[in-house]
């Protein structure tokens, strides 16, 4: 893979600066909880424990060059389970940043470059004009063809709106009808929201390339866009790493954000509790079983279990308590699906699927017909490994099921539903 030579990092010295007090290599018991719980263990003959032990032995050249750093998804499960809180992902991030640009996986680098290429910060390079066109076009069609939505709104650049809503580029670029359920939910609860022509996109692969300056540049664009519109809440929709890159980026780079960062899942739960989103499970007469995937980026790496509990409340309300089966392990202890860290863009398909086998086993053990998840990378990865390993489950966005429960899911909005759920 490597084109230019990779400089050698002194990992032991780096760890002294990167790891919090007390969480140093010397504290490692070599117990292997990290490797035991890491789906990337064994790939490229590496695992988290080995990484730490090799660093301790001064095997800096090997570590600086191992392609395993692109297999690790920076999910931080090793840190979560480590009694000494050693965070291998910090060292992996350092190693990623150390690789010359032309040696890094092309797919991740290209996604980052695209993100920087337009003011929308879309990793698919969608321009402000194209976004506006797609949103307007889809909106007009829904207003014209679906009953009850003649007044449906999808504002762009509305100053002083309460919510600044982001959107993963996949929707406007590839499956624009998937935006509609979200708009309908905002309509039903009477939310004051807006998209923006600048900085609306969710994805940020610059973090995964290890390029801090680029990561910062993208986050600054987004922060400025929200500040300019004077919105109170930046509302992260169903995308995992978008939240983490923004939230952690603001803190890491000391940016001035005059707004709160929230996840749509929190609001789904809040609106259901307040009776503003009157969903229930009466539609699920056949007792179809569901499980949820906790995205690392918003659960373990950011909000913690509170977010996971909100998600379970929403899903249980939607499908019925008896039809919900938790994956094991779950919440903050959940395994990464293998689609994180830029893995879906990195082009190392065989490794990504080997990593995903553990997720596949978790899903299969539940016996659920569908996995719900508020994360696009989880969504794509679980879809891919399901087909690869011969699974028979579907992956659904929460917004789809909310609208299904409310009886307002349009014909074009059922892309991810199997025959058993088609309206």
């Amino acid at each position: 893979m490597a084109e230019s030579a990779i400089a050698t990092i002194n990992f032991k010295q780096a760890a002294l600066q990167l790891l919090p007090q007390g969480a140093n290599f010397e504290a490692c018991l070599s117990c292997g909880l990290c490797s035991s719980g890491c789906p990337a263990s064994g790939i490229e003959n590496m695992d988290p424990r080995k990484f730490i032990r090799m660093a301790l032995l001064g095997m800096d050249e090997e570590l600086s060059n191992t392609p395993w750093i692109w297999v690790c998804t920076l999910c931080k499960r090793c840190e979560y389970i480590c009694p000494m809180s050693i965070d291998v992902s910090k060292l992996v991030f350092l190693a990623r940043s150390n690789w010359p640009q032309d040696a890094k996986p092309v797919g991740i680098v290209r996604s980052c470059e695209m993100t920087r290429a337009t003011d929308t910060t879309s990793a698919m390079g969608m321009s402000p004009a194209d976004f506006e066109f797609v949103v307007t076009d889809v909106l007009e069609e829904v207003r014209a063809r679906q009953t009850g939505f003649k007044q449906l709104q999808a504002p762009i650049d509305k100053r002083g709106a309460h919510f600044f809503v982001n959107q993963n580029s996949r929707e406007p670029m590839s499956e624009p009808d998937e935006m509609v359920p979200l708009w309908k939910i905002f309509d039903i609860v009477g939310a004051d929201w807006t998209y923006a022509s600048k900085g609306w996109a969710a994805e940020n692969f610059c973090m995964f390339t290890g390029n801090e300056a680029a990561w910062r540049e993208v986050i600054e664009k987004r922060v400025n866009a929200v500040n300019e519109l004077g919105c109170e809440v930046w509302l992260n929709t169903e995308c995992g790493h978008s939240y983490y890159t923004m939230w952690h980026g603001i803190e890491r780079f000391g940016l001035q954000a005059r707004f709160r960062l929230e996840s749509i899942v929190t609001y789904y739960a809040k609106w259901i509790r307040e009776g503003r989103l009157p969903v229930d499970a009466r539609w699920n007469t056949r007792g179809i079983k569901f499980t949820v995937q906790d995205p690392c980026m918003i659960v373990r790496k950011a909000y913690g279990d509170a977010m996971a509990d909100d998600m379970r409340f929403v899903v249980k309300t939607l499908v019925g308590e008896a039809n919900f089966i938790d994956m094991q392990p779950n919440r903050s202890a959940n395994y990464c699906c293998g689609g994180g860290g830029g893995a879906l863009q990195a082009g190392m398909t065989a490794h990504r699927r080997t990593y995903g086998k553990r997720k596949f086993d978790q899903i299969e053990a539940t016996g659920a017909a569908y996995v719900l998840t508020p994360c696009h990378n989880c969504h794509s990865q679980m879809h891919d490994i399901g087909r690869f390993y011969g699974g028979n489950y579907g992956i659904v966005h929460l917004w789809t099921l909310i609208c299904l429960s409310l009886g307002i899911l349009g014909k074009n909005e059922q892309l991810y539903l199997g025959a058993d759920l088609l309206v």
């Binding site: 263990s41 480590c82 005059r258 913690g304 053990a365």
Partner: protein, 439 residues
Amino acid sequence: MNQEPRHFTTQLAVIGSGIAGFAASIFAARRNIRSAQVGNTGAVAYTTGYLDLIGKQGSAPGSVADPWQALKTLRESEPQHPLSRVAQAEIRQAFAEFTEFLGEFGLAYSAPGERNLTALSPIGTLKPTLCMPATMAAGPAALAGNAACVIVDIHGLKGFSGAEMVANLGQQWPALSTQRVTFPDMARGEVYPEVMARALEVPATRAKFAALLKALAGPATVIGLPAILGMHGPDQVHAELERLSGLEIFEIPTMPPSVAGLRLRELFEQALPRKGVTLIPQQKVSALSFEDDGATLALSDSYGAIRVHAQAVILATGRFMSGGLHAHQSGVREQLLDLPVTQPASRAEWYRERCTDPLGHPINRAGIEVDDLCRPLSKEGGVYNKRLFAAGSILAHHDWIRSRSGAGIALATAFKAVTGVEQFLFNPGRPSRVGHNRR
């Protein structure tokens, strides 16, 4: 960025997530005490799943067969030992409540009995214990009856060797043999018990594995496996594998990190929130302070600051590895409140000359002092704070590894501490009621 700290208010805050901490939360939940529990990965993940009460009496040779008699002897020889300060009725109650709780969530245990059981180790040695998971129970029985048994080990699994078990046990178990298999769909490099346990929760993998066992059993009717029979609901995985293979199957704990320990940890994390306990996992409390009307725990997770306000606190922070105690150049300190630690007068007296000295090492008996209600004592010798209780290995005057009494000390003192908390919260001024249980 606008971000607010999160506040939790509760009756009891448990600090620590080892067996003592989790047991305290379980006992509190059964007494309708609202609890929040905070703690980093505890030593639970390193346990074998065996629940020892007392397996070794002082420096006397041999193992303890009757733990209850051994406790009586201990009370005479070591009156300050934590197990000497808890009534036998309370210890029995603690084991019963704890194992019932585990059984309720799909991890059945043998009931605590009058005699110790003989448990198998992954290197083929034997140790006394009071209770063991039902998935391991057929092992000691097969050993006692010299049943035709195959120990099956697995390509790529480190720290578990059937050949080693046969070498160590063969003389007393002549009908024991061993075979090695490749775990289904897991060909590459090192394999971990955790991964196999998860895979065996998938029905298709279970069927393939059962077919493997059936093919290799030959005349044997009993199979011994490393502990890999599922992580969540192992009783079901065990029963299914026995049904599919037509063989009697038992597990043997592996070297840490063992599935048997991870199972306990994950069960607690799943079950306690369902019992109403607020669990803040994988975080360490950075400060603990007491006010007139309660106590405040300060901590932070990746999202930001958390404050827990509680009426009472149980300190179950463990010893050196878990961070309850810290060895400084000048001596051993308790980390959170700087409670006085009973310890050898100088570092020179921490260890005896011989590592294997049957008397053990004085440093292992270091720890904090408590009163009869498990309340830590201050430097002046009085109760540090009426709201503070302590449980588990952080207490002084025991050497739990040497006496094989880790779970015993954890459960007994957690029970005692929760009894003290219950009295403090609901009946201040009244004496403690032994064995009281409001279900």
